[in-house]
């Protein structure tokens, strides 16, 4: 049998849209885990991941390429474009659940002076800088789908969505960006 080579392609690979006010593009591949854990496991997990898991609603913590986003009182989304958070959690003894969702999710990067306005076309949350500052993150709705929003800079957001909804999310953003 001939040698076969397989490679994985992102659902939105190469997709890009831009105007003077906003640019929308597919984020590079990343490793991700959905982490569920009780208070007693937090110290061990934080040590294993090399990041202090945030306990305050709507906040995140970063260390190098790794970002831990508070999703709920016992739930975090950990994103890392270089390292493998699932492998790091596997070494932690304290009871927890770490589900690798690297390929369930994909992400869209939205940036530019109109980034918040474009996202607000489908998301009802207040994205003003006082209420949703840099580093803020939240699971929320975008049009008809659920997303995780993460503000990476004053004018830049990462929109994490499930891969089967990614076409919808991208087209919605593109449509919202008309004229921006």
């Amino acid at each position: 049998m001939a040698d076969m080579q397989f490679s994985r392609e992102l659902p939105l690979a190469g997709m890009m849209h831009g105007g003077p006010g906003v640019s929308i593009s597919a984020a590079p591949e990343a490793n991700r885990i959905n982490l569920r854990a009780g208070d007693d496991a937090l110290a061990g997990l934080s040590k294993g991941l090399g990041i202090t898991l945030p306990k305050k609603p709507k906040t995140s913590a970063s260390n190098g390429s790794r970002h831990a986003l508070w999703i709920g009182p016992d739930e975090w989304l950990v994103i890392d474009e270089e390292g493998d958070p699932a492998a790091d959690c596997a070494k932690v003894k304290a009871a927890h659940s770490a589900v690798d969702v690297s390929h369930r999710n994909t992400a869209i990067l939205v940036s530019g002076p109109f980034a918040a306005d474009v996202i607000n076309a489908g998301c009802p949350q207040d994205l003003s800088l006082e209420i949703f500052p840099v580093g803020a993150c939240s699971r929320t709705v975008f049009g008809k789908i659920e997303v995780v929003l993460y503000r990476t800079a004053e004018d830049a957001f990462r929109v994490e969505c499930w891969r089967s909804f990614s076409d919808y999310a991208f087209e919605f953003l593109k449509d919202a960006a008309r004229g921006a």
Partner: protein, 110 residues
């Protein structure tokens, strides 16, 4: 759109992120296998449906995912308060009266 205070997210969030989950403080009978059909029907199907303050379960399904309880006035549709699951039912007679007075003020202004 209503803004609903999530006691876990500690802020008001848009209604679209939430889902209603029925009446709150409905306790499951301890010996459910031995109760009569009538008692079971009472537990399972019968709801208060009050005009005024209603205690309801809500879920922040597209946010933190948590169930919590809310007291809502079914006349004005206003949320009087929300509180974490497992916390006792707050006494809200005053809040409800205030709400009623406010509604009356609104009516007489028309």
């Amino acid at each position: 759109m209503l803004l609903i205070h999530c006691p876990y997210c500690e802020e008001k969030r848009p209604e679209l992120e939430f889902r209603h989950a029925g009446e709150a403080h409905v306790a499951r009978p301890a010996d459910i296998a031995n109760i009569s059909d009538a008692e079971f029907a009472h537990y399972f199907f019968y709801r208060d449906n009050p005009k005024g303050v209603a205690y309801e379960r809500w879920r922040h399904i597209h946010g933190c995912g948590r169930f919590f309880n809310a007291a809502r006035d079914t006349i004005s549709d206003k949320f009087l308060t929300t509180y974490k699951a497992g916390e006792p039912k707050p006494e809200l007679v005053e809040a409800a009266n205030e709400n009623k007075a406010e509604a009356q003020k609104g009516n007489s202004a028309k």
